[in-house]
């Protein structure tokens, strides 16, 4: 079992046991379990990003038992607080650090440089060091499939997305959603509301209401950690889906499905490598083929022929014979995004800063 401590508890115990902890780590021997620390920016609930990361570590614990000790530090604000707390957790003897937010990048990288024996995994970043690996999910592979389902179910031909910030990771999810929908219904439109906040449940619900008022009847909750959008969808009788972990219990009737992430294969492999002394910093961009991204909890209302097509595309994505970002793709401004016959490379996808045609919302600059 892993145990959770919050920032407040940590600071209290840090004051009380600071001396003992430092002594303890100096006396560490090879027989001691590997300390794994997970740091996430938001409180961990039953769903969401932090929950998915925590769940990804549980199979590691199951596999290694007493040989690993997992500490979860939640609700750690990006910035100096996070740097201090990550430093402390490493000083306490945790030699495997999962830094669960983009904003931890600089602090976590410094820790990696100062502590060559510590291995660090960092969410959604771009920096790589010998003992520092960024990792991100190819959500777009799942949202493409969701787009196909959404287009088949939409009566109004308008889909919506409540999105946090206009960063490439979220833009690619929306674009793939649009492309998947257009594969089923070429005339479908996608409206996007950028709430410009990672966390404001009230605003997220207002945004979803605004989209529904514009006749959108499938809503993509793009990077919301709480069921704010999904529970509203159920209340208003429109379909909704989200990323990371299933929110079906919040919308038993209108839940379209979940582009779930299962980090355990990746985490397990990296812990294996660390324990074998073979950890090597590398960029990990993982998707359906890596069993990290998987669409679950499909709504039974999706027509059988659409579902068959979805399964077919899913198999092709897993086999590597299909990518949502294969040309011809037109940008929202009418220019050529991807030429016919070409496929975007991973490096281009992670830097995507334009909407595809059919996404009617302007992109924040």
């Amino acid at each position: 079992m892993s145990y959770s401590i919050t920032r407040r508890h940590l600071m209290k115990s840090a004051a009380a046991t600071g001396v003992a902890a430092t002594l303890g780590s100096r006396l560490a021997t090879a027989a001691e379990p590997l300390g794994i620390a997970l740091v996430v920016p938001s409180p961990i609930g039953d769903v969401g990003w932090g929950h998915a990361l925590k769940a990804g570590l549980e199979p590691v614990k199951a596999a290694y038992g007493d040989k690993v000790k997992i500490t979860v530090l939640e609700n750690i604000a990006e910035g100096p607080d996070a740097d201090r707390i990550m430093n402390k957790t490493v000083a306490d003897g945790n030699h495997f650090l999962v830094a669960g937010s983009f904003g931890y990048q600089n602090g976590a990288l410094q820790i990696a440089r100062r502590n060559p024996k510590v291995s660090v995994l960092h969410a959604s970043g771009f920096q790589v060091a010998p003992n520092f690996s960024p990792f991100a999910a190819k959500y777009f592979q799942g949202t493409y499939l969701m787009g196909m389902a959404a287009a088949a179910l939409s009566k109004t031909g308008k889909l919506g997305s409540v999105s946090a910030f206009a960063i490439p990771e979220l833009i690619t999810s929306i674009n793939a959603f649009a492309l998947g929908a257009q594969a089923v219904n070429p005339n479908i439109e996608i409206s996007v509301v950028w709430v410009n906040s990672w966390f404001d449940p009230a605003k997220e619900q207002e945004a979803a209401k605004a989209l529904i008022a514009q006749k959108c009847d499938v809503i993509f909750s793009n990077a919301q950690d709480t069921p704010s959008v999904i529970s509203l969808c159920e209340e208003q009788g429109v379909y909704g889906f989200n990323l990371n972990s299933s929110m079906k219990k919040y919308a038993p009737k209108t839940y379209l499905g979940c582009v779930a992430t299962d980090w355990s294969p990746y985490f397990k492999a990296q812990v294996d490598a660390h324990l074998a002394g073979k950890f090597k910093g590398a960029n990990a961009f993982l998707g359906v083929a890596d069993k990290v991204v998987e669409v679950v909890d499909w709504n039974p209302a999706i027509p059988a022929d659409t579902m068959a097509k979805i399964k077919d595309v899913e198999a092709k994505i897993a086999a590597g014979s299909f990518s949502p970002f294969t040309g011809p793709i037109t940008k929202a401004d009418g220019s050529v995004g991807v030429a016919a016959g070409k496929t975007m490379a991973d490096g281009e996808i992670v830097a995507m800063d334009w909407h595809v045609k059919g996404v009617v919302a302007p992109l924040p600059k």
Binding site: T6, R8, S42, P43, I44, G45, D46, V47, G48, N75, G160, A166, S191, V192, V193, W194, V195, N196, S197, F199, D200, P201, A202, K203, Q205, E206, A207, K209, A210, L211, A213, Q214, C216, D225, T226, P227, S228, S231, E235, Y250, V360, A361, P362, P364, K365
Partner: protein, 303 residues
């Protein structure tokens, strides 16, 4: 539903958390006490109310719990600032941070859970009007907040209690010398502010966005305090400011959903800009501002 109908239908509910908290702060400030802890009081009220609804206690009990919890926290603030004459700004900030921490502690096991909100009540006749009909379909708390606004306005304008409160805020020495218990009246005003902030939080977590998540108040307490200042301590202007803020926020979202070619960051900052501008312009009369301002706001008083 077009954008205008959407804004009109949602405006009052969006304004309610701001309005409730700002009305409470108005009463406290009118009595001369500046309480900057509204954000924390709202967070605590929101957490307690959510817990009550989640366990089947119903919304009435939830609002009582939220209001009482926040009032208890406000009582600590009152003890420190009015009993011990501590600096109100520092004490308010501390109470605000404390309240947020407490709400996180109480809400820990309820993170990301949801409950059912309240049904909307339509005003017969008016609700069927074209375009503006949505304005008259609101939940009971919205209707009660409007009533509270009216009562507080009337209280300040016509009642003796309103006059006494204002006297205590303007010149506590004078009020004391004619026999009014200044400290007691101020404590009562702070407690009233606490209850209202608790209601505002309860509305946010059990009616407007019926879910609990740590940090869900997301700065709304600060906006409520700003509304009191920009509304120049006048009930009507505070009401106007809250509605304006709610309406412009919704307008920004509706514009995005409709694909209007404006940067979303600009749309997101519009509510602040428009509210400050409009309230700034209508209160640009310096003489009036001086007349409405609370003379001894934030100053400790020792009888």
């Amino acid at each position: 539903m077009n954008a205008v109908e959407f804004i009109l239908a949602g405006m009052l509910a969006a304004a309610t958390p701001f309005l409730l908290a700002a009305l409470g702060e108005l009463v406290a400030e009118r009595a001369g006490v500046l309480n900057l802890g509204v954000e924390g009081l709202m967070a605590l009220g929101a957490a307690l109310a959510f817990i009550v609804v989640y366990h089947g206690g119903g919304h009435l009990l939830a609002f009582v719990a939220g209001g009482l919890g926040a009032a208890l926290l406000a009582l600590i603030f009152a003890f420190v600032t009015l009993g011990l004459q501590a600096n109100q700004v520092a004490a308010g900030l501390a109470i605000g941070i404390f309240g947020q921490g407490l709400s996180a502690l109480f809400g820990k096991t309820y993170e990301s859970l949801t409950v059912k909100g309240l049904p909307k009540l339509a005003l017969p006749g008016l609700a069927d009007l074209p375009v503006v009909g949505g304005l008259f379909v609101q939940d009971i708390v919205v209707w009660l907040s409007l009533l509270a606004t009216l009562l507080i306005w009337a209280g300040f304008a016509f009642s003796k209690l309103g006059l006494v409160l204002r006297a205590v805020g303007e010149n506590p020495k004078a009020a004391h010398s004619i026999g009014y218990p200044v400290i007691l009246i101020r404590v009562a005003a702070v407690l009233f502010g606490g209850v209202m902030a608790g209601f505002a939080g309860a509305y946010a977590s059990t009616v407007y966005t019926p879910l609990w998540a740590d940090g869900m108040i997301a700065g709304r307490g600060w906006i409520a305090i700003a509304l009191v200042v920009f509304g120049t301590w006048l009930t009507g202007r505070i009401f106007l400011g809250a509605c304006l803020f709610g309406a412009v926020s919704l307008a920004g979202l509706a514009a995005q959903a409709g694909g209007v070619e404006l940067p979303s960051q600009l749309l997101a900052s519009l509510p602040y800009l428009v509210t400050i501008l409009v309230l700034g312009i209508i209160s640009s009369n310096r003489r009036l501002l001086k007349l409405n301002g609370v003379a001894s706001l934030g100053e400790p008083y020792k009888p």
